[in-house]
Symmetry: C2
C-alpha cells in the first residue's frame, strides 16, 4: 500500500488509522479520509482485498461505495506506522487483543479514539481504560452519539460528540471527523459519554423486548425514560457529569438505538421478546450486538460501585436464560416509587 | 341520568366528572369509573346518546367498548353537580369557555385536574392558570405522561403522573386514576409537568417533519434531544423543577409523541415535512393536534420570559407558512455551539 503516496496527496494533514472495518469503522474512515489521509484496517485479508478492488465493504455496508481516497490493509503495521491519530472500531471482546497487537507501531503520544460502545467482560473496563494500558502516554477519547452507519453513508444529517479531557486536542480532532452533514461537538466528559454509550445498548435490548411482546409505545417510552435515569445513575457514580446524560451521547444515542429498526440491539431485544433464545438469535447475525455482553458487565460494575440497575439486571437475566422476557414486564413497569421526584432524587444519590 | 343511583352503587367513593369525550377524556373516564362513580360529559348530544346506547365512542375510540358503569351526559350540570373531582379533557381553545360555563356547578373546594396539553392562545396561560380564574378556591393539577389513549383502552401497560402542589390530595387522586396496568406517580411540580406537556407537542411536530423529509433516525434523535433541552429551558424559566424534565411527564411523553405512529402531532409534522400546508392537513383531521397552536404561543411565552426557543420558532414559522420544512433543516441540525456542555450549560442559565 502506498502510504507515502497518501501522505503526498495531502501534505500536513494528520494520517488517520481506523482499526476495524465493521460498519461503523468503515463509515468513520469514509468520513475522515475526506479530511486527512486515512488507512482502514480490516482483520480479514479477503475483506481488505475486496474493499481495495471494489471500493465497497460488501459484508457490512453493501449499499454504499466508499471514497476512492480511502486506503485499506489487513496488515496492522501498514495502518498504524506513522499514524498521527488511531481510531479503534473493534468490538469490545476483541478490543484489547487488537490494540495490544498493534501497540508497537502506535507512535509516542499518538491519540487513540474509541468507537466501541461496550465494557470489557471480566475486567469491566471501559475502552479508554484499555487504551490507558498501552505503553507510553496516549491521550484517549471516544466518538459517540446517535449515529446509525447506513444513514451517515447515505449522506443524511447526523450529530456526534468527540469526548476527550484535553479540549485543545478535542477541537483538533473535531476537524478530523467533521463533514458537511456530520456535525461533531466536543465534550470533556469521557467517562459519562463512554458509560452512556455502553449502557444505552442494554436499554435498547429492554426497549426491543417491549416491541417483541407488543407492549406498545407507552410502555416502551416509560422503559426508555427509566433506562436513561438508570444509565445516568451509574455514569454519575463512576464520575460522569450530569449534563452529559441529557445530551447527544446519552439521551440522543439511547433514543436512536431504542427507536430505530436499523438498531441491532433493539432487534435482538425484539427477538428475545418474541420468546427466542439468545443463541438462536445471534447464530443468524453477523454483526455484534454489544448490549448482550455489556448487560452482565454493567450489573457487575453496578454492584462494584453500589448502584442498583434494575433494568440491566432483568435484561442480563433474560439473556442468561434465567427468566423470560414476559416475566420481566412487572419489574420494568412497576418498580418505581409512588412519588416520581422522590424516586428520581434517590437515583441522584450516589451510593458509593 | 341516575346520578343518585351511581352514588348508591359505590358509597363513599368520590364522584368524578370528566368534561370532554374526546379520545383521552373518554379513556380517563373509562379508568376512573372502575374506582369511583364517574360521569362523562360530551359536548355533542348525539355523541352522548350514542355512548349511552352502545357503550362505544365511535367518533374517537371506535374499537373499544367502555365499561358499562360509566355514565354519560351532554348536560354540564348533570356531570358537575355533586362531583367531588372535576377532570377537564377539553382542547386548549375551548378549555376556558367550557370551564366557565360549568363554573356555577363546581362545588366549593372541589379539585380540578387538566388533561389538556397546550397553552391558551393570546393569554399564553397554562390550563391550571385558567382553573385558578374560577370563582372560589380550587386545588388544581394535571394528569400527564406517555399515554396514547388507544393503548390504554386496549389494556396495555402505561405509566402517568398526577402533578399537584398539595401532595396529600395528589395521593388521594392517585387512587382515583390508578388501575392495574395504569400506574400513576405523584409530582408536586405542576408548572414543569404542564409546560412539558404543552411543548412536547411542538417538538413532535419538528420530529414528524424529520420523518416527512426522510432525514433519518440520527437526525430525528438529535432534534428530540435538543427539543427536550429547549422545553426544559422554558420550563425552568417559568418555575419548573429540573428533575421533572428527565421524568415521564417530559422525556417520557416527548419520546412517545415523537416516536409513535399513533401520535397526531407527529403525523401533522410528517405531512408538513412532505410539503403540505397546515390548512390541507387539518381539513382532513377530526382530532385536535395541540402543537399547531401551541408553537406560536410557546414562542411568545419564551419572548416574554427571555428564553430562546429555536425549534419552536422554526415550527411556528412553518405552520404560519412563512418557510417550508425543508428550509428549517439547517436550523434544526446546526444551530448548536461547538462544545456540547458549554451549550447545555448556557441552556441551564435562565435569562429572566
Amino acid at each position: 500500500l502506498g502510504l507515502v503516496a497518501i501522505k503526498g496527496t495531502d501534505a500536513g494533514a494528520a494520517k488517520v488509522a481506523v482499526i476495524g472495518a465493521g460498519s461503523w469503522g468503515t463509515t468513520v474512515a469514509s468520513l475522515t479520509c475526506c479530511n486527512a489521509p486515512t488507512v482502514l484496517w480490516a482483520r480479514s485479508k479477503e475483506l481488505a482485498s475486496e474493499i481495495a478492488a471494489t471500493g465497497v465493504n460488501s459484508r457490512y455496508l453493501p449499499d454504499f461505495p466508499m471514497p476512492t481516497r480511502l486506503q485499506v490493509t489487513s496488515v496492522l503495521e501498514e495502518a498504524l506506522a506513522g499514524a498521527e491519530v488511531v481510531v479503534m472500531g473493534v468490538p469490545s471482546h476483541g478490543f484489547r487483543s487488537v490494540l495490544m497487537a498493534g501497540a508497537e507501531w502506535i507512535g509516542a503520544g499518538v491519540p487513540v479514539i474509541s468507537l466501541t460502545k461496550g465494557l470489557e467482560e471480566g475486567s469491566l473496563k471501559r475502552m479508554t481504560e484499555l487504551i490507558a494500558e498501552l505503553p507510553g502516554e496516549h491521550p484517549s477519547g471516544v466518538l459517540t452519539g446517535p449515529n446509525l452507519a447506513g444513514e451517515i453513508m447515505s449522506g443524511r444529517p447526523a450529530a456526534s460528540v468527540i469526548a476527550m479531557s484535553d479540549e485543545t486536542l478535542a477541537t483538533e480532532l473535531q476537524q478530523v471527523f467533521s463533514r458537511p452533514g456530520f456535525r461533531v461537538y466536543t465534550n470533556p466528559d469521557v467517562i459519562g459519554c463512554e458509560v452512556a454509550g455502553a449502557l444505552k445498548n442494554v436499554m435498547a435490548l429492554a426497549a426491543g423486548m417491549c416491541d417483541g411482546m407488543g407492549l406498545g409505545d407507552n410502555a416502551k417510552a416509560a422503559v426508555m425514560t427509566r433506562g436513561l435515569a438508570e444509565l445516568a445513575r451509574l455514569g454519575r457514580a463512576l464520575g460522569g457529569q450530569e449534563l452529559t446524560f441529557s445530551g447527544l451521547a446519552a439521551m440522543g444515542d439511547l433514543i436512536v438505538t431504542c427507536m430505530s429498526h436499523q438498531s441491532r440491539n433493539r432487534f435482538v431485544g425484539e427477538q428475545l421478546g418474541k420468546g427466542r433464545s439468545i443463541a438462536d438469535i445471534t447464530a443468524e447475525m453477523q454483526m455484534v450486538a454489544e448490549g448482550i455482553k455489556t448487560s452482565s458487565a454493567a450489573v457487575a460494575l453496578g454492584a462494584l460501585v453500589g448502584v442498583e440497575l434494575p433494568i440491566a439486571e432483568q435484561v442480563a437475566a433474560v439473556i442468561a436464560g434465567a427468566i423470560t422476557a414476559a416475566e420481566i414486564v412487572p419489574a420494568l413497569m412497576l418498580r418505581q416509587p409512588k412519588a416520581e421526584l422522590d424516586g428520581m432524587a434517590n437515583r441522584l444519590t450516589d451510593r458509593t
